[in-house]
Every structure is written in C-alpha cells, then in structure tokens.
Symmetry: C2
Subunit: 218 residues, 2 copies
Amino acid sequence: MNKDIKLIDAINNRHSVKEFDPNVKISKEEMEEMLSLAIRAPSSINLQPWRFVIVEAEEQKQQLDKLVRFNQTQLHTSSAMILVLGDNNHADKVEEIFSQNVAAGSMTEDIKNYYIQAVTEQIIKAPVEVRRQLAISDANLVAMQIMLVAKAYGYDTNPIGGYERKEVMDVLNIDSERYTPAMFIAIGKSVKEAHGSERLPIKAIASWNTGTNGVVGE
Amino acid sequence: MNKDIKLIDAINNRHSVKEFDPNVKISKEEMEEMLSLAIRAPSSINLQPWRFVIVEAEEQKQQLDKLVRFNQTQLHTSSAMILVLGDNNHADKVEEIFSQNVAAGSMTEDIKNYYIQAVTEQIIKAPVEVRRQLAISDANLVAMQIMLVAKAYGYDTNPIGGYERKEVMDVLNIDSERYTPAMFIAIGKSVKEAHGSERLPIKAIASWNTGTNGVVGE
C-alpha cells in the first residue's frame, strides 16, 4: 500500500494488468474505502449516476466465465471484478441528494426545490437515451478514479470492454433496461511488473482554438 | 504549482470552480505537458480516441459567448476551455499506433498485422454509433485525468455539460459528423476557495456480487 503515492506517479505507473495473485482478497471495508474516494468525481448537477456491482464470489465468477471471452485470466485471478454502471433513473435520487446539501448547510430549502424542479423537467422527463448517455459518461469519470485509487492501495486494474453485456447483466440480476454497463474493471494484486504502452504525440490529437477544415490535430 | 501533490489529495481537493483569475494564462507548453500526462489513460485496444481543441483566443471565446448559457463566467475568466472530443474515425490511426509499439520493441510485426486486421473488422467497419460510444467513453477517462492533473499544476477546473453542441462545433470548425463532444472543461486559476459537495453513501449505490430484484444498491 502506498497511500502517499503522488498523482503523477499514479498516472504514469497505472498500466493494465491481466494476471493477478489469486490468493489476494480485498476486504469489503477496503473496497468501500476505495470506492468512497473514487466517487469524489464530478457529475452533472451532482446527480452521481454511477452504480457498482462488486463481483468477488466464486459462484458468480463461474457464471461469468463464458461471458468474458479472452478475459478469463483476469476474471479468475482478480480479487474482484467491479462492474461500473450508469443508472438511467439516477435523477430519481435528486431529493435525497439535495437534502444532503441542505443538511450540510451548503444549500437553502428554496434552492433545493428549484433544482428538484429543474432536474425533473430536464432530466427525469428526458428520453431514456439522454439519461443513459449522461449516466455512462459520468460513470466513466469514476471508473478512471477507481483505477488510480487502486494504485494507492497497492492494487492494479484492467479495464475490460470485451464481455457479453446483456448476459452479464442477467447473470448478476441487474435490470438491463434501467442500468447500462460502462466498464468492467478487474482489480487485484499484480503478479509481475506491468509494461506501459505508447501514445500518439499531442500535436496529432490537439488543435488550438479551432479545427482545420473540420479536422482536429495534424 | 504542486507537482508532488498526493493522488488522494488531488481527488479530495478537486472541486468545480466557476470563476478564475482572468489574468492567468496557461502557456502552450504547460498545456501540452498536462495533456501528455492525462492521455496516459487507458483506451480500448489503446486506440486513443480522444481529441482536444484548446480554446484560449479572445476571438473564439467571443463567438462561444451565446453558446454556453449559464457558463459565461467560466468562459471569460478561464485561461482556456478544453473541448474534449471523441473521434468516430479514431481506429483509422491503428497502423500509426501499433507501428509505435513495433518501433519501441514491445510488439512484433506479425502481432501488429493481426491487430490491424481485427480492428478493421471489429471497429472500422462497425456502425458509427458503436464507434462514437467507444470514443466518448474513453474520452471521459482522459477528461477525469485532465481535471486531476490540473491540481498538480496549481489550476482548477469546471466540467461543463451545458452548451450548444452543434453550434459550438460549427464555430470551432470541427466536423460534427466525425467528432462528438464528451466534455467542455474550463481551466484556470481559481479566485477563491472552492467548496466541496456531498455524496450518496456507498451502500446506496453498490451491491455485492448480484443486484437484488434487478436493483443495484439499497
């Protein structure tokens, strides 16, 4: 564990790891501590649309085996697989969320009611595709912080995109009409030094002030 | 500047800031340094679909004025507004990306060719909606790292979702068929201490192993 790890070191030393020490189990308390840090991420109107299912039991891991093709090593050797989801109905918690602000003294009852009405009009009544996109975009912000926070706790991660979404949701008893998977993150103790990967140069992917003939970067 | 900032402090001290010191200008070199760190984020098959337009010129800021309703203070006082985009055609850079790995000695020519074929079949030929979703999901990972890296350079940020997407793209001469905005980030030097915000308790947003009757969290 290295809770004093520098931000820049965490960013530079975070590499995807595909094999973990199967004997290392992260406790529920430690997992909750890591998630509590990760959810300090910002979200649209602070509605916190991210949800998590932390898969660590052997029974569920076995059921997922056929559904994470090419990623079975991570599934079976990781301490847990964190399914990061967006909740399409996230705005339903608006009253609970803004009541916390009132209780903390950072918001008046009037402002709370103004927000509740605005969120109801603009988000709760919005088409599901709008709510889904809001939810998974913010869920990805938390996913990034989970991968960084893991470094501070001595763990490594592998963000996994290749899995059967609908079947995974069914096996884990998650309503796939309401929730959308953003990322499946394997987390555990790496068995060997991970190697980094290259990046395109900034000039190839960035433009100053405007694009050029519609194109960004060189 | 505090390049030694701890990861945990960066996460806990990152708060959205809506007013910046208008006299502080981030140099191009410093901006490139921050972006170079942020793009250490992972992406699907390392295809790095994120793109950036860094808006700092007065001319473009003026043109954006009417298009960022409610966020004009950030627009006009920030050092820059970073438009983080996903490139729907990001996989077209697959050869360039994997050639970097071959040059770095971390990949053989055969593996490179295998990946190029797989990416061509599975991504380049995929429907635009699939490519767009891949692109903006990974773009949000980088967006989170930009907001954290800013803290190490002594800056603050405000992630902005409320802006006229199509019109902003047009004004900035960015092809909105090809690129999708993921987040507009105001960055600059905060003029006052930012205040934090509350979060829902973990038990309300997380389940262990499976959902309960389809629902995640209590």
